[in-house]
C-alpha cells in the first residue's frame, strides 16, 4: 500500500515537473520565435533601405553603420539603442543595431560582427564580449578600411590603431561626481565636528576596473574637498583601495574614509559590511559604488533604519538604478545616486562613427553620468537613463 502511494506520488511529481518544464520551454521558444520574427521582419527592411541607401549614398553622401552590442538583456542597452536611433535620425544616417541573446553568447556576437563587416558599412560600433574572439573580425574590418568605434566597455586589449576611438563612461569621473554631490550635505557636520567622522565606501570587489575606479574617484575627490576646507582626511579598510588612493595616510584625521570589500560577491556579506559601518557612532555617510552595494545598503537599512536626512541619520549615496535603488532615492532613504548616461552614449557613438567615416580625427570620449535625486528623477533627461 505504502509503495503504491509513494509511486503515485512520484509519478505525479514527475508529470508535474514535465508539465512545468515543457511549459517553460514553450513560452521560451515562443518569445524566441517572436524575437526572431521581429528581427526577420526588421532585417529585410533594413537590407532594403540599405540597398537604396547605397545608391543614395553615392548621390547624397549618406552613410550606414553597423552596431554590435552586448545584447538587450538589460534595460541599459535599450537606452543606448534609443540614443543611437535619435542621433541617426538627426544626422540622416542608417543604423543596424544588433546584439546576442545573453552576454555569454560570444560565438553569436562574433557571427554578428562578421556579417556586419560583410555589409560593408561606413563604420562599425563594437562592445566586445571577448576581444580575443573578435580579433579576426577586427583585422578583416581594418583591411577593408572600415573604422571601428568601441563603446560601453569598448574593446579592451585591442591592438593599437584597430579601434579609432572609444565612447564610454569615465568611471573615475563618475565616482568624483558622487563625492561632489555628497559633500555639500556633510560639509557642515565635518566643520562643526569635535571628533573625527567616518564616511563609508562599499565596493563589490577590488579587482574590477569599473567598480574600482568608481570607488577611487569618490575617495580622491572627497579627500581633496575635505582638505580644501582646511581639514584632514585618511583612507582605511581594504588594502588595495588604501594603496591606490591619492589620499595620504594621516593619523588622527578629521575625516576617515573607510572602504569595505566583501570576500566574495554575496548580498549577505555586503549587507553585513554596511550594517557594521552604520553601527559605528561616527559614521555620517555611506557610498555604494554599484547596484550590488547600493542594494546591500537598502537591505541593511531594513534592520537599522539609519539612512535618511536630519539629526542622527546617515546619508546614503548609491550608483546605478534598478527598482530597489530607484525607490530608495524616491522615498528619501538615499540622498541620491549616480546613473550612467546610456542615451548619451548611443548618441556619441553615432556622432563619432559619422566623424570617423567622414575622415575627421576622432578621440576617446567620456559620455558622462548624471546625479539623480527624488526631485529630478522624473525629468525626461534623467528618467530616460534610469532602468529597472
Amino acid at each position: 500500500m505504502k509503495k503504491k502511494v509513494l509511486s503515485v506520488l512520484l509519478s505525479v511529481t514527475m508529470v508535474a515537473a514535465m508539465v512545468i518544464g515543457c511549459g517553460n520551454t514553450a513560452t521560451e521558444t515562443k518569445t524566441d520565435d517572436a524575437a526572431t520574427t521581429e528581427e526577420k521582419t526588421e532585417a529585410p527592411a533594413e537590407e532594403k533601405t540599405e540597398d537604396t541607401e547605397k545608391t543614395d549614398a553615392a548621390a547624397t553622401g549618406d552613410m550606414s553603420f553597423e552596431i554590435v552590442s552586448k545584447g538587450f538583456q538589460h534595460q541599459y542597452w535599450q537606452a543606448v539603442l534609443k540614443g543611437a536611433e535619435n542621433k541617426a535620425k538627426e544626422l540622416g544616417v542608417k543604423i543596424n543595431f544588433v546584439g546576442p541573446n545573453t552576454e555569454s553568447d560570444i560565438a553569436d556576437q562574433v557571427q554578428m560582427l562578421n556579417s556586419a563587416i560583410n555589409n560593408s558599412p561606413a563604420g562599425i560600433g563594437l562592445a566586445a564580449l571577448d576581444t580575443e574572439a573578435c580579433m579576426d573580425g577586427i583585422t578583416a574590418a581594418q583591411s577593408a578600411g572600415i573604422p571601428i568605434v568601441g563603446f560601453d566597455s569598448g574593446v579592451p586589449g585591442a591592438p593599437d590603431g584597430a579601434i579609432v576611438a572609444t565612447v564610454a563612461t569615465d568611471n573615475y569621473a563618475a565616482g568624483e561626481l558622487a563625492a561632489e554631490n555628497l559633500y555639500p550635505a556633510i560639509k557642515d557636520i565635518i566643520a562643526s565636528a569635535t571628533a573625527p567622522v567616518r564616511v563609508g565606501v562599499l565596493s563589490q570587489d577590488a579587482t574590477s576596473e569599473s567598480v574600482g575606479n568608481r570607488g577611487l574617484g569618490f575617495i580622491d575627490k572627497l579627500a581633496s574637498l575635505v582638505v580644501a576646507d582646511g581639514k584632514t582626511a585618511t583612507v582605511e579598510g581594504n588594502d588595495k583601495f588604501v594603496t591606490d588612493s591619492k589620499c595620504e595616510k594621516t593619523d588622527g584625521a578629521n575625516v576617515v574614509i573607510e572602504v569595505a570589500v566583501p570576500a566574495q560577491v554575496d548580498a549577505s556579506l555586503s549587507k553585513t559590511d554596511c550594517e557594521t559601518l552604520l553601527n559605528k557612532a561616527d559614521t555620517i555617510a555611506i557610498y555604494g559604488s554599484n547596484q550590488h552595494s547600493g542594494e546591500a545598503m537598502v537591505s541593511a537599512n531594513e534592520t537599522l533604519q539609519k539612512f535618511g536626512s536630519g539629526e542622527g541619520k546617515v546619508i546614503g549615496v548609491a550608483f546605478d538604478s534598478g527598482e530597489v535603488i530607484k525607490s530608495a532615492v524616491a522615498n528619501g532613504t538615499f540622498l541620491g545616486a549616480i546613473t550612467q548616461a546610456p542615451v548619451a552614449m548611443g548618441e556619441a557613438l553615432i556622432q563619432t562613427l559619422a566623424d570617423a567615416a567622414a575622415g575627421k580625427t576622432v578621440s576617446d570620449q567620456d559620455t558622462g553620468c548624471q546625479w539623480y535625486t527624488a526631485e529630478n528623477m522624473e525629468s525626461e533627461e534623467i528618467a530616460q537613463n534610469l532602468y529597472d
Binding site: 514527475m14 579598510g237 550594517e275 557594521t276 547596484q291 546591500a296
Partner: protein, 337 residues
C-alpha cells in the same frame, strides 16, 4: 550520547553531558564564548540590531543546513543547495514580479522547485548510484544555469517591505512600534524541533542514520534502503526551498543569476561544526543549529571587530579545522574504546 566508553573524564561522565552529548555542549560553549568575545570587543556588536542581523543571516543558512544534515548523515552530501536556493528564489521572484502572481504562490514555487530538485538528486544517488558528491555537483551546475535562463539573465528583486506585496518579509522580522522582532527564529526553532523528532523518534529517521553507519547491513535486514536514502535528498530539497524564501525575505537586494555557489559550504560547514560526521551515521539537528549560530557569529562578529574580509575567511577556515579535528578525535577515541 556517542561517548559510551567506560573510561572518560569528569566532563564526559557528568550525567547532563551524557544526556545532551559532549559535542553539543562544546559547541554551545563556543557559541557563548564567541558571543561574549565580540560583545566585549565591539560596541557596535552590542547593539540590539546586530542581534537581529545575526538571526537574519542564520535563517537561510539554517534551513539549508537542517536539510543537508540528513544527506550528510546518510554518508552523502548535497552541493546543490547554494545555487539551488538562488535558482528557486529567482523562479519565485520572476513569477511574482514579471508574471504578476501573488507572493504566496511565489513562495510555494520555491518550495515545490526545491522538492523537485531534491527528488532529482535522490534519483541520481539512490537509483542510479552516482556518488553524491558528483551527482549534486552536476545539479549545482544545472540549478545555476536554470536560474539565469528562467529570468533571461536578469536579476530580479522580491517586492520590498514598503509595498503591499512585501508582507512576506514580516515572516522573519516584524516592526512593532519601532522595535524589530526577529520572529523568524520561531520558525527556525520549530523546524529544528520537528526535524529532530523525525530524525531520532521516527522509523525513516532511524533508517537514515542506519544508512550512514552500515548501508549493506540495513539492506540485508530487509529495509528499502533506496527509498530512505532518496527521502534524505527530498528533505534537503524541501529545506532549500524554505531557505530561498528566507533569503528573499531578509535581503532587499535583487537576486542575481549565477550567484549562490559557495553558500552551500556555509551550511555544510555549520552541520559539521555541529557534530554531524562527514562519514555519515551520526549527527543531530540541534547540533546543526548551534553550528549555524557559530557561522553567523563569525560572519557578523568579525567585521564588527574591524577585521578585513580576507582575515574573516582565514578565521572561519581555522574554526572549521578545529571542529573537524574534534570529530576525527572523537571517532578515534570511539574506535579505541
Amino acid at each position: 550520547m556517542e561517548n559510551k566508553e567506560k573510561k572518560g573524564n569528569a566532563f564526559t561522565n557528568n550525567p547532563i553531558v551524557k544526556a545532551v552529548g559532549a559535542q553539543k555542549i562544546v559547541v554551545l560553549l563556543a557559541v557563548i564564548l564567541l558571543y561574549v568575545v565580540f560583545f566585549v570587543m565591539s560596541s557596535s556588536f552590542r547593539q540590539y540590531t546586530t542581534l537581529v542581523s545575526l538571526l537574519d543571516s542564520s535563517y537561510y543558512i539554517g534551513f539549508m543546513a537542517i536539510g543537508v544534515t540528513f544527506c550528510l548523515i546518510t554518508g552523502g552530501v548535497d552541493l546543490s543547495i547554494g545555487t539551488g536556493m538562488i535558482c528557486y528564489a529567482l523562479m519565485g521572484a520572476f513569477c511574482i514580479v514579471k508574471l504578476g502572481m501573488p507572493v504566496g504562490v511565489g513562495m510555494l514555487i520555491c518550495v515545490v522547485a526545491g522538492i523537485i530538485f531534491g527528488f532529482f538528486n535522490g534519483f541520481l544517488v539512490a537509483i542510479l548510484n552516482l556518488p553524491p558528491f558528483i551527482a549534486t555537483l552536476c545539479t549545482m551546475m544545472i540549478t545555476r544555469g536554470l536560474g539565469s535562463i528562467f529570468t533571461g539573465g536578469l536579476s530580479i528583486a522580491w517586492p520590498s517591505s514598503s509595498t503591499p506585496q512585501g508582507w512576506f518579509r514580516t515572516i522573519f522580522k516584524i516592526n512593532t512600534s519601532g522595535v524589530l522582532l526577529p520572529i523568524g527564529i520561531v520558525f527556525l526553532v520549530l523546524a529544528v524541533v520537528i526535524m529532530s523528532l523525525v530524525l531520532n523518534k521516527t522509523r525513516p529517521g532511524r533508517y537514515i542514520i542506519a544508512i550512514g553507519s552500515n548501508k549493506e547491513a540495513l539492506r540485508l535486514s530487509g529495509v528499502n534502503v533506496v527509498k530512505w536514502q532518496w527521502l534524505a535528498y527530498v528533505i534537503s530539497g524541501f529545506f532549500t526551498g524554505l531557505a530561498a524564501i528566507a533569503y528573499a525575505g531578509v535581503l532587499s537586494s535583487s537576486v542575481a543569476p549565477g550567484s549562490g555557489a559557495g553558500l552551500e559550504l556555509n551550511a555544510i560547514g555549520a552541520a559539521i561544526i555541529g557534530g554531524t560526521s562527514m562519514n555519515g551515521g551520526s549527527g543531530t539537528v540541534v547540533g546543526t543549529l548551534l553550528g549555524v549560530l557559530i557561522m553567523s557569529l563569525l560572519n557578523i562578529g568579525l567585521p564588527n571587530i574591524g577585521l578585513q574580509a580576507n582575515w574573516q575567511q582565514i578565521i572561519t577556515g581555522l574554526v572549521l579545522i578545529l571542529a573537524i579535528s574534534l570529530d576525527v578525535f572523537k571517532n578515534k577515541k570511539l574506535a579505541r574504546a
